[in-house]
């Protein structure tokens, strides 16, 4: 019986269509969730860093705490919302990849918001007077600060990606682990484990880690290239 590494490599080499479908779905769900979380979370985190309002401290603490939201709880909340018996049931989104994207976005968003808030707050302290002198008020400063903090923010985005690609609780509940439709790497690993196919489960885990490693290496490379060009 092959060891898990050999199994992993032969699975990839064979281009097994079932496996490719599962990998494709996992990437699609998580990357889409990352994209949405960034589109919402980067400006939100920056706004939180720059704005002053009563209760700001509580909001910051809340987002920090939500970084630790258990995936299965996030999944449960989305499930109750999207269930036919729930408020958004008429959208018929339960047990679809879209529901999985929603749940994962909820998991990634607090990470992006909190880390962005932290980075932008530090940058604002450094840049505030000069930016105001140059003619940029708080609102105008947001895109400037986000771009300036891009290296640190990228780390936050990668952390968000890591959290989403690693979780199984949320996608299992809202996706239903339907073969060929909502089965991802992590839910497939859960399934094979429950079947006792531990070797295959480990092999799938290795493949998942190889994907994550490749993605992080690509991000690092892109960062280095950008640093060389722009400093």
């Amino acid at each position: 019986m092959d060891g898990p590494f050999a199994t992993a490599l032969s699975l990839i080499a064979s281009g097994d269509p079932g496996l490719m479908q599962i990998i494709g779905l996992s990437l699609r769900v998580t990357l889409t969730a990352v994209l949405i979380a960034c589109a919402v979370g980067l400006p939100l985190g920056a706004a939180l860093a720059l704005a002053r309002f009563p209760g700001r401290g509580a909001v910051i603490v809340l987002f920090n705490a939500l970084m630790g939201l258990p995936p299965v709880v996030a999944g449960l909340v989305v499930y109750l919302l999207l269930s036919r018996s729930g408020p958004l049931g008429s959208l018929a989104l339960l047990f679809t990849p879209t529901a999985m994207i929603i749940a994962q976005t909820l998991l990634i968003l607090p990470i992006v918001v909190s880390l962005t808030r932290s980075v932008v707050e530090d940058l604002w302290a450094e840049y505030r007077e000069q930016l105001r002198s140059l003619g940029a008020g708080r609102l105008r400063a947001v895109p400037t600060l986000l771009w300036d903090g891009r290296v640190s923010l990228l780390t936050g985005v990668l952390a968000g990606f890591g959290r989403a690609s690693a979780e199984v609780g949320a996608v299992l509940i809202v996706g239903g682990n339907i073969a060929g439709h909502t089965r991802t790497m992590t839910t497939a690993i859960t399934l094979e484990t429950s079947r006792g196919n531990l070797g295959l489960a480990v092999a799938l885990g290795i493949i998942l880690m190889m994907l994550t490693l490749t993605l992080n290496a690509a991000a690092w490379g892109a960062g280095q290239w950008a640093r060389g060009r722009l400093g």
Binding site: E126, Y127, E129, Q130, R132, S133, L134, G135, A136, R140, T144, W147, D148, R150, V151, R227, L230, G231
Partner: protein
Amino acid sequence: MRAARDVSRSVLPLSLEGVGYAVGGKPLLSDITLRIEAGRRLIVMGANGAGKSLFLRLCHGLIDPTTGRRFWAGGEDRAEAQAMVFQRPVLLRRSVAANLNYPLVLKALPRAQRRETVARTLERFGLTPLADRPARLLSGGEQQRLALARAWAMRPEVLFLDEPSSALDPSATRIIEEMVEQFSAEGITIVMTTHNLGQARRLAEEVAVLHRGRLIEHRSAAEFFAGPCAPEARAFLAGDLVW
């Protein structure tokens, strides 16, 4: 060379009347009254903690007086056509050219004009070979030169400088001073703080001295260096410690 400004629409003179600035009830500046006229080079001096930086920020509009009035030529509380350079240059994490471009984008200048202005500014201050270099990788002197060039590119009427060369070596300091002199020759009003007496002698046309948040001297440079009135100012000139 810039075209002469239409003086009737200048934002100067800047007037402070009985201006004070207090934080948490504690007055950091008190009872400051002076006028900054157009085209002059005003050097502001004082011991550490005297309030020079606060004074500069208050004039520029980064902070507002808690007592008294600040107003520009037209009576308004704030004005555009100003720029400020800080002790440590604050540059964005992008190229030299991009840093020059940034304030022009804020002013919503059209792209062609921005490109032309950036090129002209790079040329004027010998920064063209550094145009694509990441600004943060420049030496301290080069960064401050860039900060001044950026301020110049904004076509300010008045330029505030907060100890711009105190962190630099003598040759870089000289470059900065030359730039200030050139700006002044073009008609830009200069308001600069320094604790370097030699620099003050070299650059000042007018001198103001702050001591514990109060304005204790404001005279022409010639009169001041001949013999200041206030005893604290005299002690300061003599190099004695003045708290």
